[in-house]
């Protein structure tokens, strides 16, 4: 009923109140997530402010968890804005991790080749996902649900068939001296933290094998990746032609197609990007912990979707923001770790998460209706 909305049109309509310009500047997709972030921080400063949660090592702690969520949330966000979603993210994480570990440890490939091959494989699977969705015009829920099972099954099967194990260790040793492995598992700015520790801003270990070193060794590459992907995703979405195509494909694929937007290409690329993010996640994890397990990433697809939805994106596509998704990931990470710092019974975390999700979407829906004139 598109035509019924003319009252919201600009010209001097006596039948509608004007919206104040302050309010107008405020209402943006990520507003809900911004409010949420502020509330969550206030809450935890109040109840866990003195628990070390906001000391440097505490910040690194929840920062890392949030960064993890953010990496997959960026992929899920762009894909969701393009109008699809991917339930196979979690299985993809497990699959990529095992592939890297298998190639390096079991087959003795150089680590950088293993990583590149894993990324290539992930891109191929993402493309297959997207191709099937486009070709059969089935809902992506079904197609990627099938891949959730297929990939997880293959991962377990391959790792058992080749190594008789479902956890493959020894990757760190194999990766030593590799030209690109540090890009995923390393830490940066160690010098800065030594300096900060000398200045007394950051504490030092007083006992144990690392006495004298700063308590924070450096910024994990995971966070750098998260920030890089967020910046990339944000610019891609809001500042480029391709970003406009992503919005268009998710908003109305047919309309976009008719004005010449290559919708299939856009969507397939977004499936590939989502698989790519999952692989980055997996690679960072494998490089940091030195081992890969076939059950990694379980239910991560939901966590990615939840972050994105908390961040204000619309499940049905065409609307959302990467910054919002990143804030969603931050909320997710802070709540999860914050409850630990606050000493709340840890099984209640899930209850909190569910409640926050509900509140966030209700708030976001309200904001979106104001922006888009939707009813």
């Amino acid at each position: 009923m598109a035509e019924t909305q003319s009252a919201a049109a600009p010209h001097k309509d006596e039948r509608i109140r004007e919206i104040s310009s302050v309010r107008k500047a405020l209402i943006r997709p990520e507003l809900g997530a911004i409010c949420g972030t502020i509330l969550v921080f206030m809450f935890f400063i109040a109840i866990a402010g003195d628990s070390g949660m906001f000391a440097p090592e505490g910040i690194i702690n929840w920062g890392t968890v949030s960064a993890q969520f953010a990496i997959i949330a960026v992929g899920a966000c762009l894909l969701m804005i393009a109008g699809e979603f991917d339930l196979s993210v979690g299985s993809m994480i497990g699959f990529s991790g095992i592939m890297i570990a298998l190639m390096t440890v079991h087959w003795g490939f150089p680590t950088w080749i293993a990583i590149l091959v894993a990324i290539a494989l992930a891109l191929a699977i993402g493309a297959l996902n997207g191709y099937l969705v486009m070709k059969t015009s089935l809902p992506s829920f079904i197609v990627t649900l099938a891949f959730l099972y297929i990939l997880r099954g293959l991962t377990i099967f391959i790792s058992i068939a080749t190594t008789r194990k479902t956890i493959i260790g020894g990757v760190r040793e194999a990766a030593e001296g590799d030209p690109i492995a540090w890009l995923f598992g390393g830490k940066v700015f160690s010098g800065l933290f030594v300096w900060l520790a000398d200045m007394g801003v950051v504490g030092k270990f007083v006992a144990g094998p690392r006495a004298g070193q700063p308590v924070v060794e450096g910024i994990p590459m995971l966070m750098i990746w998260a920030i890089a992907l967020i910046v990339f995703g944000h610019f891609l979405l809001t500042r480029t032609r391709f970003g406009n195509w992503i919005f268009a494909s998710g908003g109305d694929a047919q309309a976009a197609r008719y004005v010449g937007v290559p919708v299939n290409r856009v969507k397939i690329l977004m499936f590939m990007f989502s698989a790519f993010c999952a692989t980055i996640f997996a690679t960072c994890q494998v490089m940091e912990f030195g081992s890969a397990a076939a059950d990694r990433g379980l239910l991560k697809e939901f966590e990615a979707i939840i972050s994105v939805v908390i961040g204000g994106a619309l499940l049905t596509g065409g609307y959302g923001s990467v910054v919002g998704a990143a804030l969603g990931a931050l909320i997710f990470g802070v709540v999860q770790q914050g409850l630990f710092f606050a000493g709340v019974e840890s099984s209640l975390f899930r209850v909190f998460l569910g409640v926050i999700l509900l509140l966030a979407v209700i708030l976001n829906t309200y904001i979106r209706r104001m922006i888009t004139g939707e009813r």
Binding site: A48, I167, A207, Q285, F289, D295, S346
Partner: protein, 294 residues
């Protein structure tokens, strides 16, 4: 003639989800035993670790008329029906891993090869108590599995303290486990004992301790062995690993069932495969085969 009886088919049903790496050792053991005895051994498990599904698998195994069934008693209530049905159908059953010898007897199984979870946890707790642990952290990466809670409970009981929120629901993602352990240790700096329930939680916990600079300063016990855990034992970060010698839990039942089928001989008593405590003293041999046969 014995030779003619070769090629028996046995089924081993575990409660572990697909991805539980600990069971690889048992899978490897049954492969070895199967080859040595020239029998066929199938490994079955519920994909998500749902015990109700496991009961169906035992029923299925029974229906396929194997020459013997090897099963864990992950939950006596759930499995008593299917296992006693199998026994009643005349299929020899050996129970392994979780469960107690009494339960095994009640089910009519030939014998039990294993180590009860609660007692294993308690054993770990006793060692910890001797080392002066007063406040601990039990990293439970699989809180929905009952056996995991029993281990933590046993540990707490041996120390004589309340379990309370010293057991954390860590989830299975390594980064999250690591972060949660770090968060817990930062907010509970008096913690002087850690129990992890397997490599899934032990590896990130090692990383967490390293990053906190607390490696070696906290009494650290774990279940099960892996190469990382072995290294940590050697470098004094982990005090001990409880090894129930899963290899035996897979190997012995196959051998015993084969001999029962061929010659009608069977030992009269249950076998305790563990608890074996792997410490720095006996690590050398363990290490070589960790994750595959140990």
């Amino acid at each position: 003639a014995p030779a003619a009886a070769e090629g028996e088919r046995f089924v081993l049903v575990s409660h572990a989800p697909d991805s539980d790496s600990w069971w690889n050792t048992i899978k490897n053991a049954i492969a070895v035993a199967g080859e040595q005895m020239n029998v066929e051994v199938e490994y079955r498990n519920p994909p998500t670790g749902d015990l109700a599904d496991m009961a169906r698998i035992i029923e299925q195994a029974t229906a396929s008329n194997p020459d013997g069934i090897i099963a864990t008693i992950a939950d006596y209530d759930v499995l008593s029906g299917p296992i006693s049905d199998a026994v009643a159908k005349g299929i020899p059953v050996i129970t392994i891993n979780s469960g107690t010898i009494e339960q095994s007897k009640q089910l009519g199984a030939l014998m039990h090869v294993g180590q009860p979870e609660y007692d294993a946890g308690k054993g770990a707790g006793e060692k910890a108590k001797a080392a002066g642990v007063t406040q601990f952290l039990c990293v439970n990466h699989y809180i929905t599995n009952p056996a995991s809670v029993e281990r933590c409970q046993g540990y707490a009981d041996a120390l004589g303290v309340e379990l309370g929120n010293q057991m954390i629901d860590s989830g299975q993602d390594p980064s999250e486990i690591k972060s949660k352990v770090m968060a817990h240790l930062q907010t509970n700096p008096d913690t002087n004992g850690i129990l992890t329930l397997g490599p899934t939680s032990a590896h990130p916990t090692l990383a967490a301790l390293d990053e906190l600079g607390k490696s070696g300063t906290i009494h650290f016990g774990t279940f099960d062995i892996s190469s990382e855990i072995a290294d940590a034992i050697k470098s004094d970060v982990i005090a001990f690993a409880i090894d129930q010698q899963p290899y035996l839990q897979g190997y012995l039942p196959v051998v015993i069932l084969t001999n029962l089928a061929r010659y009608g001989v069977v030992p009269g008593n249950s076998i305790n495969s563990g608890p074996g405590f792997v410490t720095k003293d006996n690590i050398a041999l363990v290490e070589e085969y960790a994750g595959e046969y140990r």
